[in-house]
Symmetry: C2
């Protein structure tokens, strides 16, 4: 019961976030994955391209450390804020709203929320984002959608990351695709390597398409 109340209150708040961002024509992406699946690395590929057309903001959520925010700040021209969750394993919509306010949304077009590295809890909390982008790191194995069902159910898109190490891991793309499809019949699936800059163009086009539709009010 307590959990249902928390989730229901969270979902109401998510509407507030969507109204705030719609009024400002801002596209908001919730980036989720296991620890170390490459969330920051993929942002470092996406942001410089998106920055050619759009003003980008990034909320870096971590339990501790400011490493990722410093990296993004150092290597891109995105507006960045580091958020510490005080031990919390996920971002609630209230936390998302506070972070958006602390970042300052005026003038921004696309904002990325780099969620806590966790394939379970963040999936339960609607952050008010327009898109849930889930990363599945190739070294984790192609069976993860079977074991962490909700994360793959709430995904609008799944990017398999670290594809460059495919030859040395027992990972079947076909199995991964099949396992994702068991959880989600429509999520777009990308096969990427931030290191080799592979599959990034396709992912970029997908995000840009969705963002453009919202920003231009189509």
């Amino acid at each position: 019961m307590i959990k249902e109340d928390i989730l229901s209150r969270n979902n109401k708040k998510a509407k507030d976030v969507r109204v705030l961002l719609s009024d400002k024509d801002i596209f908001y992406v919730n980036l989720m994955s296991s620890p170390g699946a490459g969330k920051t690395s993929i942002l470092l590929r996406l942001i410089p391209e998106l920055s050619k057309k759009y003003k980008i903001g990034v909320i870096e959520a971590d339990i501790d450390s400011e490493k990722d925010a410093l990296t993004i700040e150092d290597k891109t021209d995105a507006k960045v804020i580091q958020m510490h969750t005080g031990g919390a394993c996920h971002i609630t919509c209230q936390m998302s709203l506070e972070a958006l306010n602390a970042l300052g949304t005026d003038g921004l077009d696309i904002i990325f929320l780099e969620n806590i590295g966790n394939l379970v809890c963040p999936a339960e909390f609607d952050t008010g984002a327009d898109m849930n982008l889930v990363l599945l790191s190739l070294p984790e194995g192609d069976d993860k959608p079977l074991k962490y069902p909700l994360m793959f159910e709430v995904a609008d898109a799944v990017a398999i990351t670290k594809a460059d190490v495919s030859p040395i891991f027992d990972f079947s793309i076909d199995n991964a695709r099949e396992n994702i499809r068991k959880r989600n019949s429509s999520a777009e699936i990308f096969f990427t390597s931030a290191k080799q800059n592979e599959g990034i163009t396709e992912l970029l086009q997908y995000i840009e398409n969705k963002a453009a539709k919202k920003i231009q009010g189509i």
Copy 2:
């Protein structure tokens, strides 16, 4: 407040588990890591060796799927039970106790609990185990102890896994060790590859030493 109550109740229950297992001279290991860090693979290396001297039990905790329990059952002679958490991101001590009862502890010497793949929440809940064994998968990166502090604080031992792919990932053993030490001054650190059977002997000796002390009541 709610969280504190839950944790305090959990810790009381952990004492019950310890009394139960001490009475039966059973050594209980809580195996924790991110998703896909190699918990099952390392068990497949440890169990056949430990089985030469000890009767082994395994509790496989997953949100969904029975894959890991079937693998352990198929490839070892351990007594195995699959536990589904109904979406929960961690194992409470109550769940641990119920799983131990469902497994049936009579005659067993060492029991492994393969916790939910999650580097955050499982660390908060004492399962009543004698040892917290934490895996850090090399592809996840050497900075993880900075970002997921509690998991590395509660670890009795940390095994860095997938060491065989060390040449192709930007992972520094020295940095990893230093970052673990920032969270934990005494945890034993192992450098392992289940695939290449490297570092397993050292980890095995460590577990066996601790287990023997408890089982023989030293």
